[in-house]
Symmetry: C2
Subunit: 364 residues, 2 copies
Amino acid sequence: MKSIKVSLKKRSYNILVGCGIAGILGRQIRDLKLGTDAFIITNSLVKNKFGKLLENNLKTSGISCRFRIIPDTEKSKSVETASAVIRDLAAFDKGRKVFIIAFGGGVVGDLSGFVASIYKRGIPYIQIPTTLLAQVDSAIGGKTAVDLSTGKNLVGAFYQPRLVFSDVKFLKTLSTRQLRSGLAEVIKYGIIKDRELFSFIEKNHKGILKKKQAFLEFIVFRCSKIKADIVSKDEKEEKGLRTILNFGHTLGHAIETAAKFESYNHGEAVAIGMLAASDMSVSLGLTDKMTFFCIEKAISKIGLPAKIDKIKLKSIISAHYSDKKFIGKHNRFVLISGIGKTKIVENIPLKIIKEAVGKRISGS
Amino acid sequence: MKSIKVSLKKRSYNILVGCGIAGILGRQIRDLKLGTDAFIITNSLVKNKFGKLLENNLKTSGISCRFRIIPDTEKSKSVETASAVIRDLAAFDKGRKVFIIAFGGGVVGDLSGFVASIYKRGIPYIQIPTTLLAQVDSAIGGKTAVDLSTGKNLVGAFYQPRLVFSDVKFLKTLSTRQLRSGLAEVIKYGIIKDRELFSFIEKNHKGILKKKQAFLEFIVFRCSKIKADIVSKDEKEEKGLRTILNFGHTLGHAIETAAKFESYNHGEAVAIGMLAASDMSVSLGLTDKMTFFCIEKAISKIGLPAKIDKIKLKSIISAHYSDKKFIGKHNRFVLISGIGKTKIVENIPLKIIKEAVGKRISGS
């Protein structure tokens, strides 16, 4: 098991990465003095597969728990679901010390963190991510949120967990599509910060897709380390450092919104967003076509889509205006000047954005 | 005009207190670089009386605005209202720089601050309190919240405003009942921290109730200063300092909840809560009966209630268990050892609490 620290003074916490480490969880919670009553937010699949394991572990450590199931879809990330979950949490809260466990993927994690941030003006929570996407990205860094119909993650808070507990054993039951979705974020880390990791994926894509355990541990550790370092330096995205994590996400979110969170999962949308952003980087002369082809190939090796189906250019462009990264009238994109090197560019002409997105639409 | 600083490093802000100072607001907003588009959350009474004044002032400074009316009742402090307001805010947000103005009393302020804290993970907001209660208390310190049916302020965030703008001219149109409600908090400041302020109220209660402007300015300044100092030292109520502001509030909240936020306004409930807490202080031997009588007399001079009507002891005791101040199984009350001196006491026997509340029930 490896431990990575997110350094945020009083709000510092550890990310534990390992395989089959669930047994030590109760002790961790006790050592952190998180509380006596665990409100576990999860989905039915995760509960059925690993619920008993978690429950027994907590019980052994004298922690009572209740499971709160939410549907496993982006639609659960709504103000309405948050509100319903809080009502149940208040009913569970018997005035002892209650804390939240986010036990699932990105949807569960984002919603749980948001609920923890606003219940009683903030109660402790921990992340036990069970998807690759959540382990390498969304469970780390305290960005919690729910969606509005006008855009993704428009309601939320910066609220750090007290522990991120990444057991790659939970990844065993992921579908290939879910695994690929997480790998989109892994490719992202390679592109923005870690050429070596990018090469690792290029070389070992077959073993990774077969969920070779050592490969998954390596990937989760490496990505967690990058994210922990960035978040430690720029928790609230005020210094422009954390911004680079949004590579591929401005258009990725727009695609998800335009598709009403149905046709594409997060990773698939981000893969297409990364291709569009790479294309824009080439158009603006920041990098050469070889870089673009390299990225296109890696995405294809992992089996992620490169094209969008049945969504109109107009809808994507319209949705991208709601992005939180917009500052006043100016757009703002994370682009690249090569694998491992980012550049933040503002005021990109709409024509260039449209061209790059247009090329991603099937039949173009 | 006087200025008081709330010192919280990067989150520091000023409280401006004066009479007829609305004219300088636009410049203040410009200087603070809050944004170009103001989303003003208010109630219809305040909008009808002072809406044009605010709008013209903002327009002169080149700031566009939209008013969002919420009903002027505690019931507006709900997750549902917050959610509906956010939807309208998102529709108003045209991608320029939007900020929120809380223009009203405590309900408007608490809800607006909460909305500002969670929209796009936090946008700037300012408080323009128009009631005495809000000017001396709720507009300062960044405690934002909405209620759940199980208890008051159970959903919220610590989120500081960028400016508190207290113009006592807004108090001119307050009803006597509203004025009295604010004066309950003023008496509280006297009891917990400022014997001189307490004497001032005892001596000048008639002039205060007639809204003598100089008296109101003095009161608002003095209370704001106390609250600003406490918040500067203990923003998130972690050091036990801010806790003293809850004097009278644990049972006050319980009374409001038990009365379903109908029969008693906040100040009235707090007045009764303060009497019960003072009574408990006597029972526990912390102070003498003279102190209790002194407080009882001040509350009576201001015309605040000393007894509860038509609510059962059982409902109040049951509601007080939901208080956020409970730590585990232990209760925790702010009591007094004299005017100006507080003492935090835990694990008070239920019998003593019941006795003190029982005496507040009419006919007892």
